[in-house]
């Protein structure tokens, strides 16, 4: 088990992710108004009620360079929403989020994959979607395919792949370039055990070289073992930021003992 990181280890100018008073508000229509006709009728009758739902409310924290930052909380606590803010998929309704450096969101693994296209075409499509320049993809193509161990199948259409093979290819493209920030959601189960070890090794390698990690997991032991710091999210509020052990203890106290 790692001890809580001394705050002095990471000088302030090495902050890579800044979340400042960020809130995210979803509109949850009281009754689903999906058609313009309904909307117009209700608007006239003044019956439009949007229940505001704050997925995140006034969340502030920082992630420093090289840090492994854990996020824990019950389902629906806002963990995924927070990851989306950092991945730039969502903008905060209030507050501010900034990220210095390139983000490799592993939630975007295999984004845009098309079953009719060959593995090769998908590598280019997915890589472009991740923001890799064309030249880079051409140069790195063989390395990507080698890592995914798909040399023999790369020109076959993706629909002939097993789901494990597709996941391997997605992981291989998404992690080919060392990112400044890694977003890892839940257990990273890619392919068989051998490939899982290989992918974990690659993530460790990035972390060793200074990439920061935002890590979401329900495995409390895993959080305590691997994270430098952790945050506990509860119904959109940030209850605690600090040592992973304390965060886990606080979180578990809130859950009625099952066993």
């Amino acid at each position: 088990m790692k001890l809580p990181t001394d705050p002095n280890t990471f000088p302030d100018h090495d902050v890579v992710i800044g979340v400042e008073h960020a809130s995210v508000k979803y509109f949850v229509p009281h009754e689903r108004v999906a058609t313009f006709k309904e909307y117009a009728i209700r608007k006239i009758q003044r019956r439009i009620q949007n229940n505001e739902f704050w997925a995140l409310k006034d969340v502030s924290f920082e992630v420093k360079k090289g840090e492994i930052f854990g996020l824990i909380g019950a389902n629906g606590a806002g963990k995924s929403t927070l990851l989306k803010l950092v991945a730039r998929v969502l903008k905060p309704s209030e507050g501010r989020v900034w990220v210095r450096g390139r983000v490799a969101p592993l939630l975007a693994m295999g984004a845009g994959f098309h079953m009719e296209l060959s593995g090769r075409e998908n590598v280019f499509l997915n890589g472009t979607l991740l923001g890799y320049p064309q030249k880079l993809i051409r140069e790195r193509f063989n390395a990507i395919v080698d890592f995914a161990e798909l040399q023999d199948f790369i020109d076959a259409p993706l629909r002939t792949y097993s789901s494990g093979m597709i996941a391997r290819l997605g992981f291989s493209v998404a992690t080919d370039q060392m990112p400044d920030v890694l977003i890892v959601d839940e257990a990273l189960s890619v392919g068989d055990t051998a490939f899982q070890n290989k992918s974990l090794e690659r993530i460790r390698e990035f972390q060793k070289n200074g990439a920061s990690t935002l890590y979401v997991s329900h495995g409390m032991g895993e959080i305590e073992r691997t994270c430098n710091r952790a945050a506990w999210l509860d119904h959109g509020h940030l209850r605690f930021v600090g040592s992973p052990k304390e965060a886990v203890d606080l979180y578990l106290d809130r859950i009625p003992a099952v066993a």
């Binding site: 979803y26 509109f27 999906a34 058609t35 313009f36 006709k37 909307y39 989306k84 803010l85 991945a87 730039r88 998929v89 969502l90 903008k91 905060p92 501010r96 989020v97 900034w98 990220v99 210095r100 450096g101 390139r102 983000v103 969101p105 939630l107 975007a108 984004a111 845009g112 098309h114 009719e116 296209l117 075409e121 280019f124 499509l125 472009t128 979607l129 991740l130 923001g131 320049p133 064309q134 259409p157 400044d180």
Partner: protein, 276 residues
């Protein structure tokens, strides 16, 4: 704050004009457009027997049917088959590009929720796919036009100008309807099923302009596609240079629609992730 220019820096609070920001991001992701077009084109043809021929046969088939049905009525039109086909090719480009562009923005949710890229890319790549299909369908047009005795003239190459204007108009309209459709999906249904059909019959695609009564003709000036189809037919069907006044009208329509669509869409773009 960013000390190193090579390190990307994202700041959600950065104040920038929405339309400019969307434009700059789109430029950065321009390679993605190419890959999405390639994906759509190859995915469409990979598993079909007829392959690319289908794109050429589809408007041809419709042309044959319409020519047979309407040649009694409009037989006076010189090279009626070429007249219909030139209109159909152009209309198909417009209708297919808007429909697929709007649908991928409104229903393309999964990708939007997982990764950032400028949302307008989907609309633009739909236009790109449309252009590929359009170029393919030029082949049967040339064959038919020679066959009916209206072969291409030197002005044929001017086609590129109406095509660019049409693409701009199409993109603008796609962005406008997609922006509304994100909130109200039924608008999309209405556009796909009713508006497009009515619009096609209100535009001289299969009938000649001179059959229109005066009152309808005077209303036609409010139909952007009326002007665009006229401009489109000049170089390929009539074999004439572009008429400057018409060119002016079409340019205003194209630039205006695109500007309006772009501004509306870039304001809506953050909402897409919340809704989908």
């Amino acid at each position: 704050m960013a000390k190193d220019a090579s390190v990307p820096f994202y700041d959600s609070a950065k104040q920038q004009t929405a339309w400019l920001d969307e434009f700059l991001q789109t430029l950065r992701y321009k390679d993605l457009i190419m890959h999405l077009v390639k994906r759509d084109v190859t995915a469409r043809y990979k598993r079909s027997v007829l392959g690319i021929a289908w794109t050429m046969l589809n408007p041809l088939g419709m042309m044959v049917i319409l020519t047979v049905v309407f040649s009694q009525l409009f037989g006076s039109v010189e090279g009626y088959a070429a007249y219909i086909l030139s209109g159909l090719i152009m209309w198909n480009f417009f209708a297919q590009s808007t429909v697929s562009g709007i649908n991928s923005v409104v229903w393309g949710g999964d990708l939007f929720r997982r990764i950032y890229f400028p949302r307008s890319i989907f609309a633009i790549s739909a236009i790109g796919t449309g252009i590929v299909n359009f170029l393919l369908s030029m082949v049967p047009y040339i064959v038919v036009s020679i066959f009916v005795g209206k072969p291409p003239t030197i002005y044929f190459i001017l086609l590129i100008i109406p095509m660019v204007l049409l693409a701009m108009f199409t993109l603008g309209l796609t962005l406008i309807i997609a922006s509304i459709g994100v909130r109200f999906p039924d608008i999309v249904e209405m556009y796909n099923n009713i508006i497009l059909l009515a619009w096609m019959y209100l535009t001289p695609i299969i009938y000649p302009i001179d059959i229109l009564p005066d009152w309808l003709l005077s209303l036609m000036k409010f139909n952007p596609m009326f002007h665009l189809v006229k401009l489109f037919r000049e170089p390929i069907y009539y074999g004439q240079p572009l008429y400057p006044q018409l060119l002016g009208i079409c340019s205003i329509i194209a630039v205006g629609t695109l500007a309006l669509g772009w501004i509306i869409f870039s304001r809506m773009t953050d909402e897409i992730a919340y809704r989908s």
